[in-house]
Subunit: 384 residues, 2 copies
């Protein structure tokens, strides 16, 4: 029977960052309530959710408290104690994506092995339990070293051109991947429902600063051929089906210079490459994620306007209460949509917000987004 | 200097309903915090704002408490004690729109007189301080009686075809208006900035059930000629400039069968005829209102997709904790965007949410919206 008392569902969100914040907004309009688990009082997500449990993502008692308050629990972060979640799931609590999927993905080595086992193309890789110059040299440069656990936003990844770069290696259990000279880096945000139905957002292009692993700009849709776009969608769906995940997944891939698509990484959650969907698409990724995990029908993902997205990062050398410069000038640019995350303190390169620029002409959107990046500076009260 | 510490501004919202709720969401992404004043604990707006003062809109002490906590205060409702606001404004507290504008508009007679004095076309009207059958007959039927104060959502308005309908009159100080056999009812949502700049959303069409004053469906854009659309925009801007208002104003008008435009009513706040802008336009009316009242540049109002909007009303005869029927089926329709307001209890015809349908073909959007209206029913636990 299609009858529900309101609130429709109580959603648990592990992690109180910007993803949880945008998810909480979507949850409210779907008639759901939210509880956030985060160690920092007044977290970005809790400012919208209105209910936060102050506690660590690894604290079994707090995870249990959250699960017991909620009908279904999901994540804003990946680095969670899955042992506790698996136990709670066995007891009948609902988590999406499932802790099993999360455990597989949060270890970048098991993630890569699962992809390879399923015949999904990736860059060649080897396990590197104990980094050594010899082992790196044997695998061969240029390479990318990735820590098995705990990396995000470019942390836990080191790109090495030659043996001289070994000094920048991460002294932790890792994997080594062949460095892929990619023509473009693409991403597909995939939603998979409880019933297994998949819906994808149009393929986007992620532009990184040369030599760095921090997203500089996102362009939607990606400037690729229809055949490439179709192949990317097909690859992303195959990846998420292999994982048997429910909810939103961000599938990052390389388009090599020879036109081959290789899956780079999978994020088992709403994704930075889908933030533009709030304004640019009929159903945004946050609502779509909730529709999936609650068991509602998925929405359509049609894009209404080309979009360029940039992250607003804390300025280097600055910490403390944030101050924003250039806001008036940026907001006067037609099509600029601002999202600040309500973080109480900035720190160097911390994600403090993002801007999506809508423009019928994507080249114009790109120019405007660059202009916004030049205009806005987020500094902090505590700086030298 | 274009430099602001975050939060950018503390926004006070008098009234904790759905307008405040959608405004609070926009406030958060602009880097603002919110405080809501509403008598009901856990009001829809407070669920997102996170901070509510429990108190009446007419309570001078509570209004003062709110104003003192905030940089600028605005409204989700019209029926507020403007005497207190005027006093607080004299003391230096900022309100937008100004209490003077609010006072003028909340009395439908002074509102109409101001329009007439400014040479803005309206239906012919007279003041009716003490309703009597003779006075009504003298004005002549068909007529519309409007209570001077306190009407909203069709309340405080009585449409009378002939003298026999007098029994349905409102026994309060009122005005009488000539009943206008309108070809269409249109609305323009206008934003006016602190600097006087105006930006309008494309003209929309409001469809009412025959003989009732409850919005049945909103279509955006309205199916009118470009000349009519231009004239409607011009009329709306002239109206808001005459009022010297800051923020969003909803200007409702009649398009008569002879093609004349008459201003019916002005709402000094975000408006039901602008809800579709959340999904359908680049900048939504709630963000636009905040940009105006905070003093930021106004955003562009371009529409990205045709849209149809319906309100979700509480079923007749039902009260108490709401239950929603038909949600799954409705959400499966492509382009259906749901907004539930988080109200703890339903009552007959109470606005419990709305649905915006996006579709490249507005006729298809309309059909889908009708289908959603037929599917969704919001009933309550307490019913006969």
């Amino acid at each position: 029977m299609d009858v529900f008392p309101l609130p429709l569902a109580r959603i648990g969100i592990i992690g109180g960052g910007q993803l949880g914040r945008m998810m909480a907004k979507a949850a409210k309009r779907l008639g759901c309530t939210c509880v956030v688990l985060d160690p920092t009082p007044g977290s970005p997500a809790s400012q919208v959710a209105g209910h936060q449990i102050i506690g660590d993502y690894h604290d079994p008692a707090k995870l249990r408290e959250l699960a017991e308050l909620c009908d279904v629990t999901t994540f804003d972060i990946e680095d969670i104690d899955t042992e506790t979640l698996l136990q709670l799931e066995r007891e009948g609590h609902r988590f999406h994506p499932s802790p099993k999927v999360l455990a597989l993905i949060q270890d970048k080595l098991t993630q890569k092995q699962a992809l390879a086992d399923a015949g999904i193309s990736t860059a060649p890789f080897v396990a590197m339990p104990e980094p050594s110059p010899e082992a790196f040299a044997e695998f061969g440069y240029p390479l990318v070293q990735k820590a098995r656990r705990g990396g995000y936003d470019g942390r836990g990844v080191s790109i090495m051109k030659s043996a001289e770069d070994y000094r920048a290696h991460l002294p932790v259990p890792s994997l080594l991947e062949r460095f892929v000279p990619a023509a473009k880096e693409l991403a597909v945000v995939v939603a998979r429902g409880l019933d297994g139905e998949c819906r994808c957002y149009p393929v986007v292009e992620m532009c990184f600063r040369p030599g760095e692993n921090v997203l500089e700009m996102l362009l939607a849709p990606a400037d690729v051929s229809q055949a490439t776009a179709d192949a990317a969608i097909e690859l992303a769906v195959r990846t998420v089906e292999m994982l048997d995940g429910v909810g939103i997944f961000g599938v990052e891939m390389f388009l090599t210079e020879s036109g081959e698509l290789l899956v780079n990484e999978v994020a088992p959650r709403t994704h930075n490459s889908g933030h533009h969907t709030i304004e640019a698409n009929v159903t945004d990724q946050f609502e779509q994620h909730l529709r999936a995990v609650v068991g509602l029908p998925l929405g359509i993902t049609d894009q209404l306007s080309p979009a360029a997205m940039i992250n607003l990062l804390g300025a280097p050398g600055h910490r403390g209460r944030p101050t924003i410069k250039g806001l008036n000038e940026a907001l006067a640019i037609p099509g600029v949509c601002l999202h600040l995350y309500g973080k109480a303190a900035t720190s160097p390169y911390r994600k403090m917000g993002h801007v999506t620029v809508l423009d019928p002409d994507i080249e114009s959107a790109k120019r405007k987004a660059k202009r916004v990046r030049d205009l806005i500076e987020i500094s902090g009260e505590d700086h030298p």
